[in-house]
């Protein structure tokens, strides 16, 4: 076995290991879709996305809003103001906030 073939063999067996990890405990015919629910499946992951059409069914039927007036919307996660926040990192800069103000005017 030359070096090239040997390396192929190494990678190939790594693929087998990789697929074994992915396969877990499912035992199904090749190509069949898994129907077994993995034992540690989290039943509530991403549940917010599981009820999008609740918003359509009745007025206000989503996100727990009970007031009509949306103007005085509270910040979900912002203990500090936007301007203070931009001083501490580069995710949002003063330039970005300026741009957002420009965007606001276009609407």
């Amino acid at each position: 076995m030359n070096a090239k073939t040997k390396k192929n063999a190494v990678v190939h067996s790594a693929l087998l290991v990789a697929l074994s990890l992915a396969g877990g405990q499912a035992v199904h015919a090749a190509g069949a879709k898994a129907t077994e629910i993995p034992p540690d499946w989290q039943p509530c992951a991403g549940v917010a996305k599981a009820g999008m059409n609740d918003c359509a069914s009745k007025l206000h039927a989503c996100a727990g809003l009970s007031k009509i007036d949306n103007e005085a919307d509270s910040y979900v996660y912002m203990p500090k103001g936007l301007c203070e926040r931009i001083a501490k990192g580069t995710v949002l800069t003063k330039e970005d906030v300026k741009k957002m103000m420009e965007m606001q005017k276009k609407m």
């Binding site: 697929l19 035992v27 090749a30 989290q42 996305k49 989503c62 009509i68 979900v76 996660y77």
Partner: protein
């Protein structure tokens, strides 16, 4: 009495455009105008709420005020075209791009839409042990890669996944305080594993390899790419890392006789 189609069209216009809230001449009364105003506010609010659920991290980043402004602007430009609200908001990244928004917002929006889509895609196939054993006997040029449905590859310039993780509701720490973003080559790998969404960054070489997976190249070709052009990459380790059942397996294989 106007035909039904005309009434519905006029009502819809009153909802979305809001100009001249009267729908028909017989509805120029005060009570009718108030009714229409009520419907209008409630309908628009529904769409803002829907976008909040779809883009929660973006909203946390820019705050409720700007988010509401952009959400209302989005509704005007890209009104709903489906009876399934899961589909609403698909063009929000494009909308932000068209308004020359800061790049971090555009790319974060793209990431959030990918995460949103992944919640409803088909489950990834789980290979059986028997099938894996069969693979061991097959010529690598007869086996092709498949990118699993629970995967999205995003060509982002900024590592916005760091913002995404920092602003999750259950994240500890100071959010984005002190977080710096500088452009990186490569891209982002978004996967769904056991219902949860995970985001990882990819180096340029890893990105290129995953493009080959997406393009259904054979195992032989991918091995060749790694061998010839990425001497520093441990392909075995990379592929094993991509098969983590917790984060969701990224690829599957097909045998061609």
């Amino acid at each position: 009495m106007p035909p039904l189609h005309e009434l519905q069209r006029a009502f819809a216009a009153a909802m979305m455009e809001g100009k001249g809230l009267t729908v028909t001449t017989s509805m120029r009364t005060g009570p009718a105008r108030r009714s229409l105003a009520l419907y209008r506010r409630l309908i628009r609010n529904n769409y803002v709420q829907t976008l909040k659920i779809t883009y929660p991290v973006l909203r946390r980043l820019i705050g409720g005020h700007y988010f509401n402004v952009f959400a209302r602007g989005y509704l005007k430009r890209y009104p709903s075209t489906s009876g399934d609200l899961f589909a609403y908001g698909q063009h929000f990244p494009l909308f932000l791009l068209q308004l020359e928004s800061p790049r971090v917002l555009i790319e974060l929006a793209r990431l959030e839409w990918a995460c949103h889509e992944l919640h409803q895609v088909a489950d990834s196939p789980l290979p059986s042990q028997e099938w894996i054993q069969t693979l061991a006997t097959v010529d690598p040029s007869a086996v092709t890669f498949r990118l699993n449905p629970t995967v999205r590859l995003l060509r982002c310039v900024l590592p916005v996944h760091r913002v995404w993780y920092a602003l999750q509701p259950e994240a500890d720490g100071n959010g984005i305080d002190g977080l710096s973003l500088s452009p990186e080559e490569g891209g982002l790998l978004v996967t769904r594993g056991r219902g949860k969404i995970h985001v990882r960054s990819l180096s340029p070489n890893q990105w290129w390899l995953l493009q080959a997976v997406r393009d259904r190249k054979t195992v032989a070709v991918v091995e060749c790419m790694a061998r010839e052009f990425m001497p520093d990459l441990d392909l075995a380790q990379f592929l094993t890392g991509l098969s983590d059942p917790v984060m969701g397996p990224v690829f599957s294989l097909e045998i061609h006789p």
